[in-house]
């Protein structure tokens, strides 16, 4: 039993667990929003010809959004792992 859990009187819901769950949920939500943004940007990208300035700009935005997905999902994974082992 973890330190956090041992402090909790029996029958009372662990507020830390709820907090951790919400944190994971929020991170996944933000990553999904970024994925949705990638899809919209891909629609836009296909409207422009190759090497257009707009296309380069859109590619940069997709890359930024991808980094957001990667970062948030990594954080969510870490949070879930810590929660499991706590």
């Amino acid at each position: 039993m973890s330190e956090k859990e041992s402090e909790m009187p029996s029958g009372i819901k662990n507020p830390w667990k709820e907090f951790d769950d919400q944190r994971v949920e929020s991170l996944v939500y933000l990553a999904k929003e970024a994925i949705e943004s990638i899809s919209l940007m891909q629609d836009l990208k296909r409207l422009y010809n190759r090497n257009d300035e707009e296309e380069i700009l859109i590619s940069e935005i997709i890359h930024e959004e991808f980094l957001i997905v990667k970062k948030f999902m990594k954080e969510a994974e870490n949070a879930k792992r810590t929660q499991k082992t706590a």
Binding site: I35, I38, S39, D43
Partner: protein, 261 residues
Amino acid sequence: MQKEPKKQLDLGKYEGEDKVISSYELKLKYAGEKESPKIWSNIPSLDKYTCGFEPGELISISGPTKSGKTLLAQTLTYQFSRKQEFSTWFSFEVPARQFLSQFADLPLFYMPAKLKAHVMKWVEERILEAHAKYRSRTIFIDHLHFLFDMAQSKNTSLQIGTVIRALKRIAVDNEFIIFLLCHTHKNKGDDYMTYENIRDSSFVAQESDSVFMIRRDPSLGENAAKLSVEFHRRTGVLEKVVYLQKVKGMLEEIEMDREGQ
């Protein structure tokens, strides 16, 4: 008997969206549309022999067990994602957890949360779902024999033919590029294999736009493989070889000099 000429007369005025038109009208129709761009593998010789992958193509990847078929497909997935083409995967053979852990640097791609084997209709729906949600247009299926139920099949070869044609139709209708992994049948004798060694059906080679055969080649090194572009319908390439080695979990081309050393 009199109905035939009347029907022909009616068809003479037919104006449906599938009406028959001249080649020039059809060309004019496409002139106003932007072509979907090709996708490159970042493996120089492979790109040279294929001139990139074009929408509507069905590419079969085959080779003996443990020869590197899945690794090649994973490498393509990784390279496509670097070019912001995020693929969709059906990994029937390798469990999802293991499959994901095989990437040293996990790229973005999409997979069904749960797999349903032997149901082609389900696969088609998930492919269309991935495109509708994420604009994914490169599809990897590992592997062919999970797309139909062999136990229920009276004629495996014909069943495979039906599946392959369905995949080709999905690729053409939606401008997707489908990569299909296929096993080979057991080869007696030497290790040399061609597209004729693909298990159970000649339909695979007949309906594919290109067939890649891959096998390990210890003479080139511990983690080396030989990839043969058996044929490529669009480029006309036949039996061209690309030498590959596994570096940091992905395949890279080995540069060979003129003597092949």
